[in-house]
């Protein structure tokens, strides 16, 4: 009998331990705060961006709260690592939304944005943005509760093409993309667009996602001998090797990239071979001391060392979310997907505090603005190579 009792006690103890280990069993108290949820890739192939995004978002939250919050309510960031895997992202989404009252959400990939879209539409309570600039998402009908804090990939290409068309009409182009969803996204549409703009895409090169050695691709490039080579679907590798081999071969082509391969510190590490690399960037860099950028000043005070491009992306995304929430609350409306999106789309000629050099509007799901920067190896910095380019719809 004694043993039975002891066993029961043990069972109770184990049960209690279990309950405390599984917070799902306990209810959460609601606080008067605005929570931004986040599925953020702090590990995995996209971690370099995720870490910076998290920093940017939490800094925005911090600055906003210091300034009194949004309509009197504090902002809070609730996020978890996803390792850039769709199922983990969904798990994080489900977990965070059950534990917090979430109306704003940051998602990490195109795959996740597409996966969760049905759920967003079903709930209708959340406005989501994220690290993906997938052109498919830039469709307010299909993705009514999502947006992106910058141009989509096709728009990024469009900005590059616009720059090229102006700098060298009729130039010969080569597109180089990785064989991933990310890499393939803008290619088809952009080939068409280039043709319309009188530019000549003489070759398209696709590299396997895990390419290390690019010698054969460089040989192909040499045959095509373009004036401009546009990379898409990479972060850094194998671009430096591509460029240095091309230089060794005496190719005159100019190399360009899109947002996620525009981080300054990555290129600073590459050094000389990176010289002259250009690309489209929707935001200013951390070190930009333009007078019309008070926010950058604040950021530099908060974080004395360089912050990656993902930081700006995260910061601006959080800012647009905050602005949407603010406008909704100030209009006396309840926070939900519809009201938030409407508030977001009401943003017109909005001053980002200098993160973007021109006032922006969010007519649909994207912010089609960008600027061409070029890397200067001597100064180890990306320098503006054009004015801000706003695409007209």
């Amino acid at each position: 009998m004694t043993s039975l009792n002891r066993r029961q006690i043990m069972g109770l103890a184990a049960g209690a331990g279990l309950a405390s280990a599984f917070p799902g069993f306990t209810a959460y108290a609601q606080e008067k705060e605005i929570v931004i949820g986040g599925s953020i890739p702090l590990t995995g192939v996209f971690a370099f961006a995720g870490v910076a995004i998290e920093a940017g978002m939490s800094d925005y939250v911090k600055l906003t709260n210091e300034a009194g919050g949004i309509a009197g309510r504090k902002l809070r960031l609730a996020y978890e690592d996803t390792a850039y895997k769709v199922d983990t992202s969904v798990a994080v989404f489900n977990k965070l939304t059950t534990q917090n009252d979430i109306h704003l959400y940051y998602g990490d990939s195109t795959g996740f944005a597409k996966t969760i879209n049905e759920e967003l539409n079903r709930r209708g309570t959340i406005l989501m943005a994220g690290a993906s600039f997938g052109s498919e998402l830039n469709n307010p009908e299909k993705y009514p509760f999502q947006f992106m804090a910058g141009p989509d990939y096709v728009e990024m290409f469009a900005i590059l093409l616009e720059y090229i068309a102006k700098a060298q009409p009729g130039a010969k182009l080569v597109f180089v993309n990785s064989d991933t969803e990310f890499g393939r996204d803008p290619i088809e549409a952009s080939v068409k667009r280039a043709k319309e703009m009188g530019l000549d895409v003489v070759a398209q090169i696709v590299t396997p996602p895990t390419a290390v050695d690019v010698s054969t691709e460089v040989l192909k490039l040499r045959r095509a001998n373009p004036d401009f080579t546009i990379f898409h679907g990479y972060v850094l590798a194998p671009l430096p090797e591509f460029m240095s081999q091309a230089k060794q071969l005496g190719l005159k082509t100019k190399f360009m990239g899109t947002f996620w391969s525009m981080d300054n510190s990555l290129w600073a590490n590459v050094g000389a071979p990176a010289d002259g690399f250009m690309g489209v960037m929707p935001y200013r860099y951390y070190y930009d001391t333009s007078p019309d950028a008070p926010i950058l000043e604040k950021i530099r005070k908060l974080r004395p060392t360089y912050q990656a491009t993902g930081y700006m992306q995260g910061f601006l995304t959080a800012m647009l979310m905050g602005e949407a929430a603010k406008r909704t609350l100030e209009a006396g409306k309840e926070l939900n997907g519809k009201t938030l999106k409407a508030a977001l789309n009401s943003i017109k000629d909005f001053d980002t505090g200098g993160i973007i050099g021109v006032p922006i509007s969010v007519p649909g799901n994207s912010v089609p603005v960008g600027r061409i920067y070029q890397f200067n190896a001597a100064d180890k910095q990306m320098k503006p190579a054009s004015d801000w380019i706003s695409l007209k719809k």
Partner: protein, 347 residues
Amino acid sequence: MRIATAKETYIADEGLLVTSTQRAWMGVLLAMLVLAPFVLNQYWLYLACLVAINVASATGLNILTGFTGLVSLGQAAFMAVGAYTVAFFEGQVGTPFLLNILAAGLVSALVGVLVGIPSLRVKGLYLAIATIAASVILHFVFTHWVSVTGGVRGINVAPARLFGLELASPFALYFVIVPITCLMVLGAANLFRTRIGRAFIAIRDRDISAEVLGIPLLKYKLMSFALSSFYAGVAGGMWAYFFRVVTPESFPFATSIFFLAAVIVGGLGTIIGSVLGAAFMTLVPELLKYVVDWLAPIFPNAGAALSPVRTIVFGALIILFLVFEPHGLAEMVRRARRFFHLWPFRT
């Protein structure tokens, strides 16, 4: 389960649950499974469904690798075939939910048979690599057969509908996914009470002598591949309805590794091992998140800085189990059962 009668003593002896204690525990477990959705919140229901899907797939892989001895690193690809099948049938054909799930299993089984064909000649680790090759080729098909798979963009899947109800939330799907998985696990347990299960084990232990004992090797190896990928296909099909989008990146190679790890951690060649292993490996990363949460006050940047730890823990779990508990969780359960059986008289 029928209670044995005097006439059918061997039936009792060969039942899945031999003692009344076992039957009682199984009853408790089933009751818990039925009650769970009314107690758990959405997040834990989400995890419960994910665990169930993974259990189904891990059970399939254990049939192939643990019981038949054919190492496969292609389980994720078979799941993908199932998921695409569901997406295709749901979107383009419009057949009903359960039929689509069945079709997912069957199409996957067919692909499994194709992939299994080299297994007669190619052995051991060479075969494992051949299954990697098969998954690479399948991935290529998913990316390039745009008219069926939607290419890199993949396919969105409409919510499952059953008896006019829309099954969109984890709560609703739980009532389909968990029973299907339970049936599949039961099926696997039954299998190893019959000649087919024995044939699989014989092939694992010594394939050439199995042939002389009357077991046609190719037929049974292919059957094992078919069954294993049927399980994967059904799991993939449920996955498709659960996540409602299928892309080529949905089932990366790492998923195959995950399932193999789950089966090893759970216990190769045991049914309960597949269940425990899949549940354990699915839940560990979640539990780690809580650890990180608890540490957050001490290390302000714990979330970001400690997250590679999860990668390390995944690897370390595999290593530790292999070195210290090579027969996996199943063996630990067995030991615990023996302990409680004798407790408190001996330890």
